[in-house]
């Protein structure tokens, strides 16, 4: 039986290689830009992440942005961080999100507040990301709030968590993944891959434990427009690993347009490579402020047309779910 009935869940369960997109909500009280960006994703990806105040910069809430994404005809993956809410606020947002038709959630710790535009803010971190996964699972499977009180209508969410194959302590990262699976993660999205050997080393360790059979692993891909972006990530974003090959390739190109083309080529190469890696269930394309490149990447990586989820008759709430969630 399906846990949430989301398009993402159906496709993963049917064994399709899924494609996720990502968009940052606007730094404004305006839904138009979300609806416009939906055009880049509709028919090209299976679900889209809506970030939750990413890099600790205030944007429209991921709950409301996910709702607008639904209106724009794409299936949202609502990101939720532990930085800005305590356990009460998280649970109430999850209830509202489900009622609004949102069926996927990605549970994250969140970037530290001092990196954002309100460095003077208080970080909440009432739960950690693993505990958040556990809480959503409890709400869904036991119909209970974290405190144990029962609820009438449970939020049937497809639960995601993050993994970083590139950060230290490398060996512990696999155990950390196992903990998130035990806590209740249905799918995993990784940090963007710019270091294939390192990613494959991690996948080997994951396969040794058989974890890829217990959870759907969706690998991150980030297209970049210039060598500057890569160098920034290498020097200033902790926990990232960038292969010198990509830096060298982009460094040699002086023309801006040509560099963008090379950036697309690198992303497509990485996607193709990930598709061939055993145990990888899909890719998660996360272009920062460059959502419009998504259709091209999906097409050039040979991932079109996107599969349509087969309707399952068993289980409850399939019908209501598909009215909102599965439009392609």
């Amino acid at each position: 039986m399906l846990k949430s009935g989301s398009n993402l869940e159906k496709l993963l369960r049917a064994g399709h290689f899924v494609v996720c997109g990502e968009m940052g909500p606007p730094q404004a009280a305006d839904s138009a830009s979300i609806l416009k960006k939906c055009g880049y994703f509709k028919g090209y990806v299976d679900a889209v992440n809506l970030t939750d105040n990413q890099t600790a910069i205030v944007r429209m809430s991921s709950v409301m942005s996910s709702y607008f994404a639904l209106q724009g005809g794409v299936e949202p993956i609502m990101q939720m961080t532990c930085r800005d809410r305590n356990r009460l606020a998280m649970q109430s947002d999850i209830l509202g999100a489900y009622a609004a038709g949102i069926r996927n959630i990605l549970c994250l710790t969140g970037d530290y507040q001092t990196f954002g535009n309100h460095p003077d803010a208080r970080g909440v971190f009432d739960l950690d990301s693993t505990q958040l996964v556990q809480m959503v699972k409890k709400m869904r499977d036991e119909k209970k709030f974290l405190c144990g009180d029962e609820m009438k209508q449970e939020p049937r969410m497809f639960i995601g968590a993050a993994a970083n194959p590139f950060a230290e302590p490398f060996e512990f990262r696999v155990m950390n993944l196992a903990k998130k699976i035990e806590a209740g993660a249905d799918f995993i999205q990784t940090q963007p891959v710019f270091d294939i050997p390192r990613f494959e080393k991690w996948m080997n360790a994951v396969r040794e434990e058989g974890l890829e059979k217990e959870v759907h692993i969706i690998a991150g891909v980030m297209p970049v427009r210039s060598v500057k972006a890569l160098l920034y990530m290498k020097d200033s974003v902790p926990g990232m690993s960038i292969a010198d090959e990509y830096i060298n390739r982009l460094e040699q190109i002086k023309d801006k347009e040509a560099a963008m083309e090379e950036g697309v080529k690198i992303a497509v190469e990485i996607m193709t490579r990930l598709k061939e890696t055993p145990g990888v269930a899909g890719v998660h394309i996360m272009p920062v402020m460059w959502e419009s490149v998504t259709p091209r990447l999906v097409e050039e990586a040979g991932l079109l047309p996107r599969p349509v989820a087969a309707e399952e008759t068993e289980g409850k709430e399939q019908g209501t779910m598909c009215d909102v969630g599965c439009r392609m």
């Binding site: 969140g110 009432d126 505990q131 556990q134 950060a167 230290e168 060996e171 155990m175």
Partner: protein, 132 residues
């Protein structure tokens, strides 16, 4: 724990002076040795005797995604990531498997109370002393 330990905890806690002394005794050891943050629900025995509450994000189950290549913290580059330290020490002490336990959310009511008394009173799980 047991009925007796619960009674001991109850007795100490019902006497403010005794209670203060117990907390002071615990702090006198834990603060200088472990940099105790006074969460009142100690899991040091599961985290290679390295306090995870000194992590800026108070991660009790594992590191966030920001540990630097040299094992340092993304927020405070001059410090080690708590979980990098925890893992290194767990390897040395033969306590890696203990890191696998899922740690439940912090009970904020127990902050600034004595974890020892909380164990005695049965409010939190007892420590896991044995090696693997």
């Amino acid at each position: 724990m047991s009925k007796t330990s619960e009674k001991i905890a109850e007795f100490i806690e019902s006497h403010p002076t005794l209670n203060t002394c117990a907390l002071a005794a615990e702090n006198a050891i834990k603060k200088p040795v472990f940099g105790c943050q006074d969460c009142g629900q100690c899991i040091l025995s599961y985290t290679a005797f390295t306090c995870p509450m000194r992590c800026p994000k108070e991660m009790r189950n594992g590191p966030c995604g920001g540990t630097r290549a040299d094992g340092h913290c993304e927020v405070y580059p001059d410090r080690y990531c708590r979980w990098w330290l925890i893992y290194e020490r767990a390897k040395k002490l033969g306590r890696v498997k203990k890191l696998r336990k899922l740690q439940k959310p912090v009970d904020r009511r127990l902050e600034h109370t004595s974890a020892w008394l909380n164990v005695f009173a049965g409010r939190i799980d007892p420590p896991s002393w044995g090696r693997e």
